[in-house]
Amino acid sequence: MRLPKITRRDVLKGSAAVAVGTFASSAKVLAQAPAAQAITPELIKAAQKEGTVNYYTSIDLPLAERIARAFEAKYAGVKVRVERSGAERVFQRIGQEYATKIHRVDVVNSSDAAHLIVWKNQGILAPFVPEDVAQHFPAEHKDADGMFSSFRLTLCPIAYNTSQIKAEEAPKSFNDLLDPKWVNRITKAHPSYSGTILTATYQTSRDIGWGYFEKLAKQKIMQLQSATDPPKKIVLGERMLAADGTEYVMLQEKEAGRPIEIVYPTEGTPLIIGPNAVFKAAPNPNAARLLQAWMYTTECQQLCIDHGGMRSVHALVKEKPARTPLSKIKLMKDDAAAVEKQAESIKKRYSQLFGV
């Protein structure tokens, strides 16, 4: 009688070596993605017959609901049931449902790209390539077997309170945060509680070394849990600087006129990828494919950019003029499989450094 354990590590053990570099390297080994699927009248009709689609997602709730309503408005008769939770919770829940043979999820989105690798290796995803993905998405953002592709991207930059710090005095890099004048002034989120921060911690420690975190721990930082928390504390004026946090919350706060500004560190900004996938045993297979296909269109991608502060790699979307375009930002390289392998050691090392 054991707990139905979802050990991503077990699943990954064999495949991790192959899967290094989420999308790119596996492409060389297996390249058998199915033909791209357009949104056809037949697909719409079949979806309307099913009537509903279950979307498990870790997107911010207001945005998830906005996407659902926009889809329902476009395809009358197909209702989207949003089950929103943190990425890890979504992952555990699907694991438990599948362990007990409950097949309820149609389409999934996770902010932790490693989850998709696990599901793919378990063989529970359906190969499906929307037309937009085939035509407008760069190769490193789609799975070679057509199981998933980057639905949304966000960054994990630095932010500061504009009423407390002048633009010219603000730090320009991660290393600038180590200046003694910022003691007691910095807040950040925790890799044990946030997948985004786990990914960011991995990328930062890989590119600029653990020495950065060792010194940062001596700055008496205020430790928060979720990646969405630091920008909020900056807006409140509780701390002047956020060493990390999700960019979309920062953009939303800034565009709502609150005193926050984003800094893309000169060392590079951690990149967080959130892919979407359809399940093989989806109870509403056609509605699932319709939703999946629609979510990669310029319409939905633009909606995520405009209302959710997300980033997109769709070639035809337009960034808001006031935002720094993705192409102008130096990005750290995503490597979901490596994050997966090192998750526990990263969390442990982090806890030892920061004391919680």
Binding site: L61, R89, S192, M222, L236, G237, E238, V356
Partner: protein, 527 residues
């Protein structure tokens, strides 16, 4: 008074004469076992096995040797001890003033204490964040405004051990206050009259009669406050991490972050459970001797001491204490709800209802509210029904083994919330009952938590009704269940309604907390 069985059941009696008492007993015992024994057994099991399911004491060894657990244990101990002392310092004089003196607004004071009693601890913590965060807190801003101090200077820092002790005390002091005030209410005036007749002055009487009689209640209250502070999760969940430490409850919770370590969580929960049981036994022993405090009978009303010139300082003291758990936090929360930035004072120019609309405009908030009420009603109905039957069986000693039922129904009192949570997680994430991630697990949790109170209310109601009427109906040939339905149930109507309301309110209050923290997760019962 004659209460006869209605004719139609008299007819049915002949055709339908099986006594269901025993099956009912077995059924309820089974339900109670599922509710209580099952989670606690899994808890015990998990604490002594390793990942492979082999017996081991490794989990407990880790608990004692690893600094990552020893730290939180020490923190929890300090937190609970200091909170119970601070609570006693504030609550004891207040209880005395309200119960034994002519303090003006005594009724209002009792009502306000109740208000802090029903404030969910996490909400209090959020409010105090708004007030006393070192940089953005309203009180610190006021301090800097008044003194012209530099940004970064502050007088309060809620993200600290002291801050946590303070907030926890704010929401545990009602336990001591209620116990003290009730004990003092019950002390008869006769003893005090005797003392003053023998020449004791007001203060001598208070010192030598009233205070010693109230001491057991104070001690019991401090134990309860200790327990509450030790097992509290809401306030530490918000304040401990930013302050840079863990308490036992937040540590246990962190063990459920991916990858979950249920074995360690179970092992860490057991000491909390054992300590709770021990402290509750001690508390019962102390209160069990309260008999001597009513030795003079219940004849005389308590005599109120005239405060004289101390009247207004006393009022000032009481309201100063109440500022901390009630006035200031609720002011901060209302301000945050109406202000564009939570820690900016609201003015007629910048007031906004955007936050309010945002919260209630989300369809998921509506579903959550709807679910809260459905779940509250379900829990209340099921809980009242169970308490009704179990209370009957144990008060009337209906069947052999009734003691076990009564014991099981009161046992959840001794299970701290976080420990029950761990037990429920272990139980309902595996066959035969997979309920994790659904609302049903919340139903089970609240049913378990509220059962003891419901059971105690209804069993005392049964005791008040008496046996005779039921016996009469049974002599006339009714089975137990028929007698219960036609005689006892109607007589208990008021108590039943009261119990239902009690569970409903308690559940909805707790649930609202769960839902504010975890909106999306609690919506799953929709399909």
């Amino acid at each position: 008074m004659t209460i006869a069985l209605p004719a139609e059941s008299a007819v049915r009696r002949r055709t339908f004469k099986i006594d269901f008492s025993l099956p009912v007993l077995i059924a309820f015992a089974a339900v109670l076992c599922v509710l209580i024994v099952l989670p606690m057994s899994w808890l015990a099991y998990y604490s002594v096995v390793d990942k492979a399911g082999q017996f081991t004491l490794e989990n407990f060894a880790t608990l004692v040797t690893e600094p990552e657990f020893r730290g939180p244990m020490l923190t929890t101990l300090i937190l609970a001890t200091s909170a119970s002392i601070f609570c006693a310092l504030a609550a004891a004089p207040m209880g005395w003033l309200v119960a034994r003196t002519d303090l003006p607004f005594a009724k209002a004071v009792r009502a306000l204490v109740t208000a802090s009693f029903v404030t969910p601890p996490f909400l209090g913590a959020i409010a105090w964040e708004l007030l006393a965060a070192p940089n953005s807190g309203l009180l610190n801003k006021l301090y800097r405004h008044l003194t012209g101090a530099e940004m970064g200077d502050h007088i309060f820092n809620i993200y600290s051990m002291t801050g946590l002790i303070f907030v926890v005390s704010c929401y545990t002091f009602p336990y001591i206050f209620v116990l003290i005030a009730n004990a003092l209410d019950r002390i008869p005036g006769d003893l005090e009259d005797a003392s003053s007749m023998l020449g004791g002055r007001t203060w001598t009487t208070a010192r030598r009669i009233t205070i010693p009689l109230a001491l057991p209640a104070l001690l019991a209250g401090m134990l309860i406050a200790f327990l509450q502070a030790m097992t509290l999760f809401g306030s530490p969940a918000i304040l401990a991490l930013p302050a840079g430490f863990h308490t036992m409850t937040t540590k246990i919770w962190s063990l459920f972050q991916f990858p979950p370590k249920p074995e360690l969580a179970a092992a860490a929960s057991l000491p909390l459970l054992v300590l709770t049981v021990m402290l509750l036994r001690t508390q019962q022993m102390i209160l069990g001797r309260k008999g001597y405090s009513v030795v003079g009978g219940k004849t005389g009303d308590p005599r109120l001491i005239r405060l004289g010139i101390w009247k207004w300082p006393a009022v000032a003291f009481v309201f100063a204490v109440l500022m901390l758990p009630v006035f200031l936090p609720y002011f901060a929360l209302i301000n945050a709800a109406l202000s564009p930035i939570a820690t900016t004072l609201v003015t007629p120019e910048n007031a906004t209802l955007k936050n309010v609309w945002f919260t209630f405009g989300l369809s998921s908030t509506k579903i959550a509210l709807q679910n809260t009420f459905i779940l509250g009603a379900l829990t209340a109905t099921l809980g009242t029904l169970m308490a009704l039957v179990i209370g009957y069986i144990s008060v009337r000693r209906a069947v052999v083994g009734h003691q076990a039922l009564g014991f099981l129904a009161t046992a959840p009192i001794a299970i701290p919330g976080i420990v029950l949570g761990v037990g429920l997680f272990l139980t309902y994430t595996q066959p035969p009952f997979v309920l994790y991630g659904t609302l049903w697990i919340l139903l089970l949790a609240y049913l378990t938590i509220e059962l003891p109170a419901a059971y105690q209310q209804l069993s005392s109601a049964y005791k008040a009704v008496g046996n005779d009427l039921e016996d009469a109906s049974r002599i006339l040939g009714a089975t137990r269940l028929q007698a219960l339905r036609h005689i006892t149930a109607p007589l208990l109507r008021t108590s039943v309604i009261a119990t239902w309301c009690f569970i409903f309110v308690a559940t909805v209050r707790e649930l609202s907390a769960a839902i504010i923290l975890f909106t999306s997760d609690t919506r799953s019962c929709r399909s």
